[in-house]
């Protein structure tokens, strides 16, 4: 037992490096295992329904793919039990359900929508997605088990910010243009969308920056006529964010990412400061920026026009969104059933890019409004877990980090779902955990992994609050 005791003391003193190895004491996770069992049942039923519709036989649609996925879920669960950490037990099953829905959807779409060859083996849409889902599970679980310290995120926030801006610039300069959007960065055989990683980096940076400067932004005012603004120097990041968002729109033509970044930024700013005026100023800036963009750039004006009335040109400019809305209409309340929707015209699904931009429309047709509401509910569960983790966290940094990470998932899901439903103009962001795509899955797995790690209250306490340089200059000492 001395070993245990020394282990404990070492933990409470808090070594700077993450501790991977240590005494392992398995801890059952009953909530998680029950929820995962529910997920497995739901997916098996879904696969049977899919098989019955498509093949007319009462068998699993793609038994091997589903078995591998369920096996991976079991492995992830067992790994967490063995690791014995007191982390959140709802997040993983929720995300696993979303991933499972994604797997069933990809299995059911034409497999030649995507083909990739790894080491001489050619994989179709569902197989590639399965590979990415497994990688995502591995990433989330590993992070959830391994990370015990946040100092590597907390200390180097400007470094992370630099990495983020660097990634963005790399994409600006070296990005490959696909469909008029410069989103993809290709390095050797690997390609990815850096904005997916960037959103995580953004949250880390903002959590660090805001937790440190929160007090100053809240307490101090700069009067500008009737307006009470925060101290001007602290508006700098807001302006910088605004500029970055506009840059993303102009250079990458990626409205969705810009919306996501700005939305997350404003939400975190509000959580940190409680100042509604900042959010209002931000929104005004955003609206002004959008209006400016719309007057300057034809492609943005076109997007807005399509959004306002896609039925003007249902077979031309408005085709995608009109077909998506038709899919929701065909689905009705209960849907047409898995595999029975998406009537193919000339062997193609009616909605182009259904696997990346419109999975919700496809699911809306096959599972109906009931299914859409259920899926939206799953996303809300993820958000709720994240916010809860944030509210219970030991200090401001962890709080803001968890809240920001949860909002990244929530706002991104909102943006693309709203685009599918013509609530917002359509943008090209992915539906987290459901859309096809490795970058998206891995980045969102990173988010889940960090949230899992943050949810463990038994890890080392956060460091004492650092006194910011500005306070020192003002001759104040820490209130503590």
């Amino acid at each position: 037992m001395t070993q245990d005791a020394t282990g404990m003391t070492r933990e409470t003193r808090g070594p700077a490096l993450p501790r991977v190895l240590g005494p392992i004491r398995p801890r059952p996770r009953w909530v998680e295992s029950r929820l995962l069992a529910l997920v497995a049942i739901a997916l098996v039923v879904g696969s049977l329904s899919l098989g019955a519709t498509v093949n007319g036989t009462f068998r699993l649609f793609d038994a091997r793919g589903l078995a591998i996925y369920l096996g991976a879920l079991l492995a992830a669960h067992v790994a967490q039990v063995l690791a014995g950490r007191r982390t959140d037990q709802v997040l993983l099953p929720t995300v696993a359900m979303l991933g499972g829905i994604s797997l069933l959807l990809m299995q059911r779409l034409p497999q030649d929508l995507v083909t990739q060859t790894f080491f001489g083996v050619t994989l179709g849409l569902a197989e590639v997605q399965l590979v990415w889902l497994l990688c995502a599970l591995a990433v989330a679980t590993t992070l959830g088990i391994v990370i015990r310290s946040d100092s590597w995120l907390r200390r180097y926030k400007y470094t992370w910010a630099a990495v983020g801006v660097g990634l963005l610039l790399l994409t600006f300069v070296f990005g490959t243009e696909i469909n008029g959007q410069r989103l993809t960065l290709q390095i050797g055989p690997f390609s990815g969308q850096p904005t997916e990683l960037l959103k995580v980096i953004l949250v880390v940076f903002l959590a660090g920056y805001l937790s440190e400067n929160r007090a100053l932004i809240v307490e101090q005012d700069t009067r500008l006529g009737p307006l009470r603004l925060p101290p001007l120097p602290y508006l700098a990041p807001m302006v910088a964010m605004w500029a970055i968002a506009l840059g993303i729109v102009v250079v990458q033509r990626d409205l969705g990412a810009a919306l996501l970044f700005f939305g997350v930024f404003l939400a975190m700013l509000y959580v940190a400061t409680g100042r509604l005026s900042l959010v209002v100023i931000g929104l005004v800036l955003f609206v002004l920026g959008s209006a400016l963009m719309a007057t300057l750039f034809d492609h943005i004006r076109t997007r807005v026009d399509i959004w306002l009335d896609p039925f003007v040109d249902p077979l031309g400019a408005g085709y995608q969104i009109v077909q998506a809305l038709h899919a929701f209409a065909r689905g009705g309340l209960v849907g047409v059933g898995l595999g029975a929707g998406l009537p193919e015209i000339g062997g193609r699904p009616p909605i182009p890019e259904v696997h990346t931009d419109f999975p919700l429309a496809a699911l809306g047709e096959e599972l109906g409004i009931v299914g859409v509401v259920a899926i939206l509910g799953l996303f809300l569960v993820v958000v709720e877990r994240g916010l809860r983790i944030g509210a219970a966290a030991a200090d401001d940094f962890r709080s803001l980090l968890a809240v920001g990470l949860a909002l990244v998932i929530g706002i991104q899901a909102f943006i693309i779902a709203a685009g599918n439903l013509k609530v917002l103009p359509l943008t090209g962001v992915t539906l987290p955990f459901i859309s096809y795509g490795g970058s998206s899955l891995l980045a969102n797995a990173l988010v889940v992994g960090l949230l899992l790690a943050l949810s463990d209250k038994g890890v080392e306490p956060p460091p004492l609050p650092r006194v910011s340089s500005r306070w020192r200059r003002m001759g104040r000492t820490s209130a503590a």
Partner: protein, 499 residues
Amino acid sequence: MMIGSGAARRPLGRTTIHVAIVMSLAFALLAGAAGYWGMVRAPELVRSPNDAAVIAAARTVPRGLIRDRTGRLLADNKKDEHGEFYRVYAGSALSQVVGYASPTFGRAGLERAYDAELTGLAGDPLTDAFAKFGAKRYDPKDLTVSLSLDLQRAAVAALGKRRGAVVMLDPRTGEVLALASTPSYDASAIANPDTARAAFSALQADPALPLLPRATLGRYVPGSVFKIATAVAGLGSGAITPRTTFKQQPAAEKNGLLVEGYRVQDGHHPATGTTALDLVGATEVSCNIYYALTGLETGGADLVAYAERMGFGSPLPFDLPTAVSQVTNGEGRQPGGFADDVELANASYGQAETFVTPLQMALVAATVAHDGDLMRPRLVTSLTGDLSGSRTIGAESMGRVISATDARAINAAMVRAVEGPLGRQYTSGAKVAGVTTAGKSGTAELGGTGEPHSWFIGFAPAENPRVVIAVLVEQAGRGGEVAAPIAGDLMTLYLKGPS
């Protein structure tokens, strides 16, 4: 001020809850949007020809057949070399009604209006909900329409090379017997994938607008046929009785009727002399002054209100889309939307801002023919599907417009307009031999030097009308000389069969 106290120390929980509330509301908004598209807009969207399921079904499932009232095939299916179906139609006389269904050029006419039923997607919501889970997903329905193929062909032949329209219907049931528009076109050529492109571009380039169904979508100045609508409003509102005469009328025919300083002119009817005419007499000689005075007596509000009871002012409740007929453009400030009494006086005999569809004028005649009770016009009488069985669409009233007594008074006046000693001179050829025939011709002046539109509306037998007709021939001359004989021939054909 103490930095680091108060708000700065505030835990983040409160603002986090605000964010949670906002996110929940945002997602509730999305759920609402899903409900909107999936429930509220769904009935319209799933029937649209742009719907992917409709398009997919069109290629793989044979469309429902269309038959006329005697069971003759109007629209049939054939298979092309790829095994995909295409439509064949029973001749070009029907094209303006039945329309076409083409994978490339979409749909028109009944093929468009009943696209969902013909492809077998639409049904009642309950059947649909179960059909989703059944093995057979499509249930194409065969349509029976009230048209008579013979009558339709005769109507198109009677119009010949002229542009115009003929509407015939049964006033007792609202069943449309013929709905002809010329020039027509060959719908089979558009439906056939081999000839579609050439045929369609030729039709689009044709200045005679053969793709326009004039009977339902053409809007024309009505001229004197509108007087029947004025009579309906005058009698219905009680502004006049069948015996009402206007003292100033005979003199006004010579000197013009002074309305607000403007003279409404009308050629003097030589045979009427100085007699002040009543409803029957004025209708027989088509007296503009009498009807102008009737309109002024009725007032703009009632004239428009009674016209609206007969379908003016909104699209007609019909199987096909219809243009909106108007008494006035409604921009004026006087009651009913007239600019002034001059416009009202001119509109009362159909010459101001009054524009009507031939189908609308047939309904005016049908109102009189069916003793003031207007039946909803309709084409499709039954739908039959393999799964859903047969559904009959019965006759229904659009509501009583005027009393039977008033309707009979106008009926009598219209008989005189065709059969009276003076009426015969104006309206030659409308009479069905051996059958009391009622009607009213119209010669719609268009201004300028062009020939007027030639109109006739009427019905027979007057005692118990079985057929109502409206004939319009564009810029063909006097109504009594051009439209009336066509009407007489077609009513004869319907009532007596081919001779």
